[in-house]
Amino acid sequence: MALILLEIALYFGLLSLLAFGGMPAVMPEMQRIVVEVKGWTGPVEFVQLFAVAQAAPGPNVLIASLIGYRAAGFAGALVATAAVCAPAALISYWVSDVWDRFKESAWRKAIQKAIAPIVVALVLSGGYVIATPGGTPDWRLWLIAAISAAGVLATRLNPLWMIGVGAATGAILLS
């Protein structure tokens, strides 16, 4: 038990450091480790856990909690969640200081301008990849995604409405 907790800590800690652009970026690597290397879940179960983490509120790192739970119970969930957050949190804690200190530097201003288009592309990619599981376009999923994107852009409605519409549309189109 102690060994599996240590493995969870190491693997998810590694994923934390690789997750430039957030969790969607490391999903393929996470799938490889969890399903192919360690066998903590089967391939189908992995996809289901991903969907449940998507459906729950909160950062999508919470798929780590679900995998940890499946691998080693409640302790596994706690360890996986802490491991996937802690290294990145420590880096953020340190970097934000440096970032503030160079507020007026030309390099910081250049970096900020440079990051903006990359961030837009990565958030967009995250949305695209989630709405296109397995890389196979499905017009029903794209329609649901388009409706909720339009809702974010055109209204000031609570995003929960878009989620509700997605659940209802999913029940009609996908069952």
Binding site: A55, A56, P57, V61, S96, A121, L124, Y128, I163
Partner: protein
């Protein structure tokens, strides 16, 4: 009305708790709503800049933002309080939902609803990306970078280990040339 940071750790905690509690389908839109629109802790430009930094860092974006902002306002205590506030409810929620879902995994309707919710969450991401990208519309070089990065990551599924340094180097070059 100018933005005012939270006055106490309690206010900070409950602000992030309310982000975590309601953040179905993605935290970013809720972080914006709570911190910029409801509580007015941050100016929109300040929010975009902080998120920009956190998306550049590895790890969960809004999780990192809770660390950065908590630290800016209250030091180590603030970082811990904001992070725990953000994570506490979603952690309990996701475990409860995971245990519940395991019992209903074979019901097609449940599966359809969960998938629909996932797609709607993806749409929230896309809408948020377009919102953040509005300022780039008049910059052709930035649009080319967005398109190239998107094709590499989303379509060609190239690892971020390659895309991030190359994309950032090109963007930095463009920024130094005043193209961005």
């Amino acid at each position: 009305m100018a933005a005012t940071p939270p006055r106490s750790l309690t206010e900070l905690f409950f602000g992030f708790l309310s982000i975590g509690a309601r953040s179905f389908g993605g935290v970013l839109p809720w972080a914006h709503r709570v911190m910029v629109e409801e509580r007015r802790w941050l100016e929109p430009a300040d929010f975009a800049e902080t998120i920009g930094l956190c998306q550049f860092l590895p790890g969960p974006n809004v999780g990192n933002a809770s660390i950065v902002l908590g630290k800016r306002w209250f030091g180590v205590k603030g970082a811990l309080v904001a992070f725990l506030g953000l994570m506490a409810l979603p952690f309990c929620w996701v475990l409860a939902l995971g245990i519940l879902y395991a019992d209903f995994v074979d019901v097609p309707l449940v599966k359809a609803i969960v998938t629909g919710v996932g797609a709607a969450g993806a749409g929230l991401f896309i809408g948020t990306a377009i919102k953040l990208g509005r300022t780039l519309v008049r910059q052709p070089v930035a649009l080319v970078l967005v398109a190239a990065c998107f094709i590499a990551v989303a379509i060609a599924r190239v690892s971020l280990v390659y895309v991030m340094p190359i994309g950032l180097a090109l963007a930095l070059f463009a920024a130094r040339k005043q193209w961005l």
